[in-house]
Amino acid sequence: MHFLFATRDELFITIAKIAILLFIVLTVNAYLTWFERKVVAHIQSRWGPHRVGPHGLLQPLADGVKFFFKEDPTPAGVDRLAYFLAPLLALALALTSIAIIPFGPEPLRLFGHDIYLGIAPLNLNIGILALFAITALGVYGVVLAGWASNSKYPLLGGLRSSAQMVSYELALTMSVVGVLLMAGSFNLRDIINAQGPMPGHPDRGMIGWNIWPQILGFFCFFIAAVAETNRVPFDLPEAEQELVAGFHTEYASFKFAMFFIAEYTSMITVSCLGTIMFFGGWLSPFPASWTLTHYLPSVVLIPFGLWLVLDGFRYETVLGRVVLPAVGTVITALGLVFIVFPHVNAFIQAPFWFLSKVLLFLFVYVWMRGTLPRFRYDQLMAFGWKLLLPVALVNVALTSFVIAAKLQWGAK
């Protein structure tokens, strides 16, 4: 398999990419907790974290330090191998799945090498399958944690969650089959490109995305994805009232943090996957001929940066009056750079749209957490097997029928 054994330069590039992506993902993870707490707080008419740092921005750092220095007791009678393996497995698999995601179409030319955004090789023809394979293994982290803890609540939580994840994995996989049929490929880059301008098709912007013909598939995908990541309203494995904290009840300190990071990372992965499958990945929602929309990144960044500067000067604490205007200045400068250098602006388009869509997905996740009550366990199972799976299957049948009909009688 030649792509596994790259030249030495490519090896170094890949290692550098892994380090950078790891740093970015972990930082985003940390600030996702801040984002979630802030959004949920505002939904409930509270302020959320605001004591540590300006607008509570240093709260994730404080949390991280706290996780490191907490006592880490190991309960009596645990199965040591599985107990220590479980958080490692959960975190490692969650982080691995990010490696499959491509973040942009154009390579960055640096030191005479084409550096593509994303770790997986371009011709990873089993992209989506590889992602599902890694998710499928992710169940073990939860199951082993529940079993190894030698305690009743984790065991119940582990059993619940393994049943839930296995059930919804089926619906999740079936829901994207329609997209795969339309793209004719497992490769994530091909799936995105199939939603963009094609020879013979005019460039229609967001009209060409899979969300319109695959609206049924998206419905199933999104619900199954929320269930698969154990988030509200499907967070039965860790239902506080019934199971304390479910499978990670007996974990403390950094081992708990590993489960926490794994959960948030899989949220990011699933959001990326939804963006790729149904919302055109890095494609702009506007046709490429609308050149004015290329300045949208600047139009978003500059006012936001200026607002941060103006608002920052009036902040209560001295630290805030220094940090917020500084961050605002950097953001404004970034926006100006995009206007002044057309090359940079052209390069930034794809990642900009990709990240915006992922952010929107993450916001919906948090929004749901602030809004919806939890399902009952039997409702959850009935919903998955009796509604979601049949709808996904109908969607597959409908899509195949339309594609077959187009091939048979299609307008050439």
């Binding site: 398999m1 599985a82 399958l129 590889a130 394979a133 073990y140 199951v143 393994s162 296995v166």
Partner: protein, 171 residues
């Protein structure tokens, strides 16, 4: 084969060692969950070997179906039954020596077969076109569509049988 240690060969030996160690540990472990974990290691190592041979699709399906679905079911059932550590009876201890003999015989047979067809083993690594997703789907849904459908009917019958048996137990 030349004596040169190329990178694919190195990866092959690492994965093969992993698979063998996992398989041995599967038998030697006392606790069913540890045995199941060992089996997962074997499955994943096998998937790596498939990937090494260029069979991407088979590798992914190996992990999804065996590593994911089937082994999760195994672990789930072991947890649900709360199976304890294995108990050694005099009969299971007696099964050891004949089992070792059988293992030796099987290993000798497999080694002899491989030694006799040395060239075809190397050829197996180059069937990249056949192992692609498209090649596999053409084989399953065109060339061998009737055997494939028959197998699915067989599986359906098995599922129905299991359901009927489970229902009878309940009532």
């Amino acid at each position: 084969m030349g004596g040169e240690m190329t990178e694919p060969l190195l990866v092959f030996f690492v994965l093969a060692a992993l698979a063998v160690i996992g398989a041995v540990s599967l038998i030697l472990q006392k606790h069913p969950i540890h045995s199941a974990l060992s089996l997962i290691v074997v499955m994943v190592a096998l998937a790596g070997l498939y990937l090494l041979m260029g069979a991407e699709f088979v590798a992914a399906v190996q992990i999804i179906v065996y590593g994911g679905a089937i082994m999760v079911l195994f672990v789930f059932v072991i947890m649900l039954l709360n199976a304890g550590a294995e108990e050694r009876t005099s009969l299971s201890k007696m099964a050891g020596p004949p089992g070792l003999l059988l293992v030796a015989a099987l290993a000798a047979f497999v080694a002899a077969t491989i030694a006799r067809s040395g060239s075809s083993v190397q050829a197996a690594a180059q069937t990249g076109a056949l192992s692609s997703t498209k090649g596999i789907s053409e084989m399953i849904f065109r060339d061998f569509v009737y055997p494939f459908e028959l197998t699915s009917i067989l599986i359906l019958v098995a599922i129905l049988g299991a359901t009927v048996l489970a229902q009878r137990e309940k009532s």
